[in-house]
């Protein structure tokens, strides 16, 4: 099925994706693009879990269920984050992180 593709290829691909997300997280200033970088990071971790599960422990299902729960948590996180972002936009009319520096409620 996966003949000719070592597990290291999957792990290196996930590493590159993860650090691309880290780069975006550090350089972006818009809250939504920061959220998109976080999505990249979560996805690369999922690839790692599934590759480990399929290559090293194909008799178990831990990696698959962990990825399933990571996806569910990511969906919840995005829903709350976007509610917060829209609330911030209502209050400050911007979602640039450098202009939003007040936590007064």
């Amino acid at each position: 099925m996966n003949t000719g593709i070592p597990i290291q290829y999957f792990l290196i691909l996930a590493t590159i994706m993860f650090f691309t997300g880290v780069y975006g997280f550090l350089t972006r200033r818009n809250l939504i693009t920061i959220l998109m970088s976080v999505e990249l990071i979560l996805n690369s971790v999922n690839i790692n879990f599934l590759a480990f599960n399929r290559y090293l422990y194909p008799n178990k299902l831990e990696g698959m269920f962990f990825s399933l729960f990571v996806i569910a948590v990511a969906a919840a996180e995005v829903a709350v984050a976007i509610a917060i972002i829209i609330n911030i936009y209502r209050r400050f009319t911007t979602i640039n992180v450098e202009d939003v520096n007040e936590m007064k409620f």
């Binding site: 590159i16 994706m17 698959m64 729960f69 948590v73 709350v80």
Partner: protein, 180 residues
Amino acid sequence: MASNQIMFILFAAMIIVFSVLTVTSRKILRAAVYLLFVLVSTSGLYFMLNYQFLAAVQLTLYAGGIVVLIIFSILLTSHISQKFESSGWKKNVFSAIAAITGAILSIITILDYKFSATTEAAKEVDMRLIGKSLLSVDYDGYVLPFEVISVLLLATMVAAIVIAKKSGPAKTQSPTLNQE
């Protein structure tokens, strides 16, 4: 070269190119569409690893749900034609140095490590097995995280409504949004 290797190279190239474009694109809507391409290629990788259910979940939840939410909030909060000014070159350079250093260290570690697979027979992942594992309390059961996730989703729904609803009389809200 076997066909699955060609498929893997295709998916890997798509993931790398589009994730770099996602974090460097100056137009926010384009960045969201590139993110969609990354997520779809990831689900292709899941299909290659023979996890069909998870690939379907990835397509429907990530590509169908989360990207639509992100695009929706982009349309609510920014002008489509607006371009970001690039953040200072110092920030870019140092972030790139941090990311590349981390990536190189991780890749060296991965290449050094000797992975040893188990010798037991592989389990066929079908829908029946997934459903039984999710609701079983045995050794291989996942009913506790399943219940915790359901409580989390309920809390998320309540939280999203509470956060996003207008609180009392409009105090400092922008005049453009009050007419809805």
